[in-house]
């Protein structure tokens, strides 16, 4: 059997285990065991992947298996990974692992909570291992049910509104996506032959340019909605701020990356000519995303809103880099996805931990937390520094690569856009340092803070796991960028743009 299927089977078995657990207190233990196994398996997969590569196997995708599913539509269950999808899988495993531990003290409908959370994870894993557009779309839409329930039931604040807005906007994106995918499908055999949803097969043919121009916007915007492309980003602040902590982590850390990954894997990879001619429109939109998100973060007072807007800015940068259509920038885009995934998950985790102690997320209602909660505060500062792009942390590596890549274009338009986008680094520093200053080093607003307990073991575990990888990428980015380098070189040689 294809080892990739274990990525779906382990969570599925965990769900069964949760259903069968009779004592509600043990539900979290079952979930934790399952997700730890999943994390270990993802790394085993990584080593297996390296081993096969070192043996000289240079196929584009490894662990490929395909089974015919719907014969009449030529839909296959085709799975396989390359370095790009593998790095995303590892990101997902880390974030879900941390998310389970952050949710350790959930005390309302625990079974349903963990089942929905793991179902969400299954959707993400399935999306990354799919090589068939149909199954890819299926897994992409799978997130809708658990997402709505997770935010609606366990959320806080305006949770019904946030859940509904998020669900409907993501679905609206996938509506456009569906039209685009059908368009690709019916143009996948321009010289006759069988129509196919198979990604690798479609990449071999050249889709007629008129069809490319027609369907590229559908797909790019469709995926762009979950990648918070301006002006389709508005679900993100409301959705993230009302979601429970683990869901914010997963939504901002991983689900937003589905958008970027999809934009690259489907829109740019399959419709390269259209990507080339339409890039300028989307470069303008993503530049707005980057700068607007950063400015938005400055004005917010709610910690989760700050982080949601900063996510818009950072994910905008991902799409911006992808549209540069060169190898360096694209490597940077994927590094940024992983870096942002880890960093934003850490942010949301800490915000959740602070909120559970102080019962407020408004920065002007808190202060001096460094004295009361040193461990949490230090973790937040590390996340903040990674977000600013301090050397030695993952953010620096990613943003550096992106800007180097985008400066490779000598064109005035690209230069101007890059310079505008670069300015977001400064704005990021403003909103991060502002929060750090008020929240952690300002005067303590209430003496009762001194009685608060600092991080407990499960909180430390989840935070430290994320920090370890942030630092690991910062100090030794090669293990990750090598993983990305090989497939990206092949892809850009193939695309010749």
């Amino acid at each position: 059997m294809n080892p990739l299927l274990y990525l779906l089977i382990i969570p599925a078995l965990t769900m069964v285990g949760i259903v069968l657990t009779s004592d509600l207190k043990n539900v979290r233990v079952v979930a934790a065991i399952g997700m730890t196994a999943q994390l270990l398996f993802s790394f085993a997969l990584l080593f297996g992947f390296y081993k096969i590569r070192n043996e000289g196997n240079s196929d584009a995708f490894l662990f490929v298996s395909s089974t015919m599913w719907y014969e009449s539509f030529n839909i296959q269950l085709k799975f396989g990974v390359d370095g790009i999808s593998l790095s995303m899988i590892i990101l997902t495993a880390i974030v879900v692992f941390a998310g389970v531990f952050v949710s350790w003290q959930i005390d309302y409908r625990q079974k349903e909570f963990f089942i929905s959370l793991i179902l969400l994870a299954i959707g993400v894993y399935g999306f990354f291992i799919s090589l068939d557009l149909f199954t890819m779309f299926l897994f992409y839409e799978l997130e809708v049910i658990p997402m709505y329930l997770l935010i609606g039931i366990w959320g806080s604040g305006r949770k019904e509104y946030g859940a509904m807005k998020l669900t409907l906007m993501i679905m609206a994106g996938s509506a456009l996506l569906l039209v685009g995918l059908l368009g690709i499908y019916f143009n996948s055999a321009p010289e006759g032959g069988r129509l196919t949803f198979d990604l690798t097969e479609i990449a071999k043919v050249s889709i007629p340019i008129s069809a490319q121009l027609y369907f590229f916007p559908f797909i790019f915007i469709g995926f762009g909605v979950s990648g918070t492309l301006f002006p389709f980003h508005t679900w993100s602040p409301d959705g993230h701020s009302s979601a429970p902590t683990a869901v914010s982590m997963l939504a901002a850390g991983v689900l937003m990356k589905l958008g970027g990954y999809g934009c690259f894997r489907v829109a740019i990879f399959l419709l390269p000519e259209a990507a080339h001619s339409l890039a300028w429109i989307f470069i303008i939109l993503t530049s707005i995303s980057v700068v607007y998100g950063a400015f938005g973060a400055i004005w917010q007072k709610d910690l989760k809103y700050i982080n949601a807007y900063s996510s818009i800015s950072h994910c905008g940068l991902v799409l911006f880099a992808l549209l540069m259509l060169n190898e360096t920038a694209t490597t940077g885009a994927f590094l940024q996805m992983i870096s942002h995934g880890l960093m934003t998950a850490l942010f949301f985790a800490i915000i959740g931990m602070i909120y559970s102690r102080t019962h407020t997320r408004m920065i002007n209602e808190m202060g001096g937390l460094m004295k009361a909660l040193p461990f949490l505060s230090v973790m937040y500062v590390i996340a903040g520094l990674a977000s600013i792009g301090l050397p030695g942390l993952s953010g620096f590596v990613a943003e550096m690569t992106i800007f180097v890549g985008s400066f490779q274009h000598a064109d005035t338009f690209y230069r101007v856009a890059t310079i505008i986008v670069c300015s977001s680094i400064v704005i990021t520093a403003v909103y991060i340092l502002r929060v750090v200053g008020i929240l952690f080093f300002g005067p303590m607003k209430s003496d009762s803070y001194l009685e608060l307990k600092d991080a407990q073991w499960f909180e430390k575990l989840s935070g430290v796991t994320l920090i370890v990888f942030i630092v690991a990428i910062g100090f030794a980015p090669l293990w990750l960028s090598n993983l990305l380098h090989q497939p990206l070189t092949a892809i850009f040689q193939h695309l010749k743009i």
Partner: protein, 461 residues
């Protein structure tokens, strides 16, 4: 012919049983359900194609499949209606209920098996008249009587329109036989006119917008089992008939009817979705939701090849099972409490987790969310439309699925998220109801993954 003969026997049995069973009416329910269950199994066995009565009656594997789908849905409705029938006010009328149900079903079978338009019309009337009695089955309730009357009136109008179209067809071709018309059909002005009238007549039954005005009132007034029968079986029969007529009789002239249905699909989807948004009564809500779903089905008609028929039948099967699951839950609620409003479902999950989960899955299947079967059904319909390059229509349809997702989520929100100080008490379900849910859930969860179902439909086309 097997289906009709067995149904005839059932009808005769009901007539006799009403006389002989006397005091022990509960037995009729059990005997009917068990024998109908066996009938569904027998109906699924392969049979030989046959042409009878001078080709007025045609039976082939495709038509058998369509009849089996309708029989299966009817079985589920019979299972779900058993506890409703046992209520005091329906005592001594079980026989009548079954008699009427089987008569309409017989009529629908004749519609599907029709080899010429006379037989089609005969079947249509046989299906319609008992249906009006069913709608008025709760005769002590004013709204039920009203529903029956409304159904009768609108059916009469639609029959008149249909007959007018049929008379034109006879005027042009001089024959009613499908096979002869199929050879002669052309795109003259008169035959376009005839097809338009035919579409309008059947459009009433299918409640295509603008012929939908009776739907919500009749659904709301009728008893719950009759509503679900109307929305699944009756609708399915009309859909299958329309499909057979268009593909098999006017298949040479696809342009005429695809253009007409293109427009009707858009109006039906949009009006159904928008009106469903504001409904508070669950029956009215489902009436508009089913109108939207019929609009989606029209997308299958855009492909005039086998793919079109295949996706239509496949979607109807899934839609039927999902809708019946929703109706099953609602009928348990309404039997126990008499409540039919969406607000009454607030906090339903805290007291009835299983029923809420069934409802959740069924609603998401209707909304077309993976991995449930509704996703596959809907996606294949859209593929059928896209195969003819109608991407704009597909886009409109997908945007409507988002509107429909919104109102399905409203129900989910009521059940799972909204708080209620006095939610509906814990409800128990009988063995028959559990069996019906098992059948529905099997359909909702498995059909999508099981590509053999789709391939089987393809093999009989």
């Amino acid at each position: 012919m097997r289906h009709e003969v067995l149904l005839g026997i059932f009808i005769l049995y009901q007539l006799i049983a009403d006389l002989t069973e006397g005091t022990n009416k509960g037995r009729i329910i059990h005997i009917t359900i068990i024998s109908f269950f066996l009938y569904v199994i027998v109906g699924g066995l392969p049979s030989k194609p046959a042409i009878l009565f001078g080709s007025m009656y045609v039976s082939d594997p495709l038509r058998d499949l369509l009849k089996n789908i309708l029989s299966l849905s009817t079985l589920i409705i019979l299972l779900q209606s058993s506890s409703w029938l046992k209520k005091e006010e329906h005592q001594a009328r079980e026989g009548a209920f079954y008699l009427l149900i089987f008569s309409t079903l017989m009529g629908m079978f004749f519609m599907i098996s029709a080899g010429d338009f006379l037989m089609l019309y005969l079947g249509l009337e046989l299906a319609t008249l008992p249906m009006t009695l069913l709608a008025a089955f709760d005769k002590e309730l004013k709204r039920s009587a009203e529903a029956g009357m409304k159904l009768l009136m609108s059916s009469a109008v639609s029959s008149a329109i249909l007959l007018f179209g049929l008379s034109m067809i006879y005027g042009i071709y001089g024959t009613f036989h499908f096979s002869e018309i199929a050879l002669l059909s052309d795109s003259s002005a008169l035959s376009i006119m005839a097809i338009v009238f035919l579409l309008s007549g059947l459009g009433f039954k299918l409640s295509l917008v603008p012929f939908h005005l009776w739907t919500a009132d009749v659904y709301e007034g009728s008893p719950m089992p009759v509503t679900s029968y109307l929305s699944v079986v009756s609708k399915g029969a009309s859909l299958f008939t329309l499909m057979l007529v268009l593909y098999r009789v006017f298949g040479q002239q696809p342009k005429i009817w695809t253009m007409a249905l293109y427009v009707l699909a858009i109006t039906t989807m949009i009006v159904g979705a928008l009106f469903a948004l504001r409904q508070k009564n669950m029956k009215r809500f489902l009436a508009f939701s089913s109108i939207t779903q019929v609009g989606f089905m029209m997308l299958g008609f855009m492909n005039n090849g086998t793919m079109g028929m295949n996706t239509i039948i496949y979607f109807m099967l899934i839609y039927g099972l999902s809708n019946l699951a929703v109706f099953g839950v609602l009928s348990i609620v309404s039997n126990a409490t008499g409540k039919e409003s969406m607000d009454d479902l607030n906090g339903f999950y805290s007291t009835n987790p299983r029923l809420s989960l069934i409802m959740l899955l069924a609603l998401f299947s209707l909304a077309g969310i993976p991995p449930l079967s509704g996703f596959f059904g809907k996606l294949f319909l859209f593929t059928a439309a896209a195969s003819k390059g109608m991407y704009i229509l597909v886009l409109i349809a997908v945007l409507n699925t988002i509107v429909s997702l919104y109102y399905y989520l409203l129900v989910v929100k009521a059940m799972f998220i909204d708080k209620n100080e006095s939610p509906i008490a814990q409800l128990s379900s009988t063995f028959y109801e559990k069996l019906s849910f098992t059948l529905c859930l099997a359909g909702i969860l498995i059909i999508g993954f099981a590509s053999p179902v789709y391939n089987y439909i393809q093999s009989v086309l």
